[in-house]
Symmetry: C2
Subunit: 273 residues, 2 copies
């Protein structure tokens, strides 16, 4: 497995998608497709799509919308050359009536003529920028999943979509808080600036050592816990909305697009259907 | 009229909307509601709303989406306190089957239970930022309308919405082009960085002295014409789509929101329906 990862690591985004589509790679995408935007995915019937888009527009920090397919068209042409959302994500989660049903590696047989696919920006983008600026991120250095918490910050509802904002936590040196805010604010398509830093209880988090998702991560005396809006937020909203059918990516197993990580807009030149 | 403008100039955004709603002010909004985001408006039946939202998502520079109403609800609660889109814009244009029908100051009697209202960011925001940085903008200093041109840059289509990107031109000193790009790029909700600078013919503009909308504006020997994506683009797309009914703001007569001009996201705290 490690050998395959090392091999994939050297490939360009389009080639990686081909390997995933062929069934040759079905693992996480952290570090892959260097310099390209990776995206969270949600696929749902068209009758929910307008409300879900409104939900994303009203909650742009947890749900930074970077792409939307035409109804029934699995080709997400604004995000890259030949991006087939039925096959190009390494692993998918199927939800039925708001409940996790099963994990699958290809949704071709599940695809419906009224499906709309959404792509949302993810934290990989600003994490890369922080690392380039010399920040060390504990969960990456220790090969763990970032700790995530249900906060008491409510999202702005749209139709059936509502619920708490989920936040991810990274411990940052006290002296560099303003710097981390300034850097991440430059990436509105990747959750933007933190939503909170300091006392976790102020956003309803009782115990920083027991995250709701991911792995507990230490905060040393010279560090402050910094919280960003998290892409798990729309997954919780989708579960609460109890859609008859909805498909998401498996967390960490993202769509790798052809859009540059630092692009001003998430649309490749000469997009067409 | 000038007296009323001077009076309105001192008011906060919410108070200005009240005056507009009461029918006490029905003129342009340039310079009003200092420091608050102003927005282009488009109102259409729900059956076109998903495609229009996709059009905005795919063309974020001409169509920076800053707000979307619930279907049938004229209260745009994410943009401010008590924002009624039927009454709070100084003047509206009604289009029927893609053709301009008439100008009206209140759309209450036209409002339908399936209407969705969209608010799009406008150039006032980055123009203010440029003026604060010491740029002089000819059309503002001479009380003219910025010159706008149909370019040969195609938008990315969505459903019935397509067409050329309309661009606005401001003449900028050669030595300050990079600065103007950097400043306006900071405002993705207000068209962002320019789409072109230099030779107008490269984007299909034959004669810089004959704009398709607005007033011709001089470009001196030490200046370069700089082109930004323009909010007239969605109006052209809407006309081409020949919707049975669509209502827009009258150009220059915008919605004044409670959102700060430099806010990270266009959503006021504690938004709720």
């Amino acid at each position: 497995m490690q050998d395959i990862y090392e091999d994939i690591l050297r490939l360009a985004a389009g080639k990686i998608r081909q390997r995933i589509r062929a069934g040759d790679y079905a693992s996480h995408t952290a570090g892959l497709g260097k310099g390209k935007l990776q995206a969270n995915i949600a696929v749902m019937p068209e009758r929910y799509a307008l409300d879900f888009m409104r939900f994303c527009q009203r909650n742009p920090k947890p749900c930074p919308l970077v792409g939307v397919s035409d109804s029934g068209n699995p080709n997400m042409f604004t995000l890259g050359q030949d991006v087939d959302i039925r096959t190009d994500v390494p692993s998918y989660f199927l939800y039925e009536h708001g409940t996790f049903s099963r994990e699958i590696h290809d949704i071709t047989t599940l695809w419906q003529s009224d499906f709309v696919a959404f792509a949302l920006g993810c934290s990989f983008t600003f994490e890369h920028a922080l690392m380039r600026a010399g920040f060390s991120l504990w969960h990456i250095e220790n090969d763990k999943t970032v700790p995530m918490f249900r906060s008491n910050i409510e999202t702005v509802a749209a139709g059936p979509f509502s619920g708490p904002m989920v936040v991810s936590m990274r411990a940052i040196n006290k002296s560099r808080i303003q710097e981390v805010i300034a850097i991440s604010r430059k990436f509105p398509l990747a959750h933007g600036a933190p939503v909170h830093w300091g006392d976790p209880s102020e956003i309803g988090i009782k115990n920083i050592d027991t995250p709701d998702w991911g792995d507990a991560s230490p905060v040393t005396d010279d560090q402050v816990p910094v919280f960003w809006a998290c892409g798990v937020t729309p997954q919780v909203a989708i579960e609460q909305a109890r859609l008859p059918i909805c498909i998401t990516h498996k967390p960490g197993y993202m769509l790798i697009t052809d859009v540059d990580d630092d692009a001003e807009i998430p649309v490749i030149a000469h997009s067409n259907s």
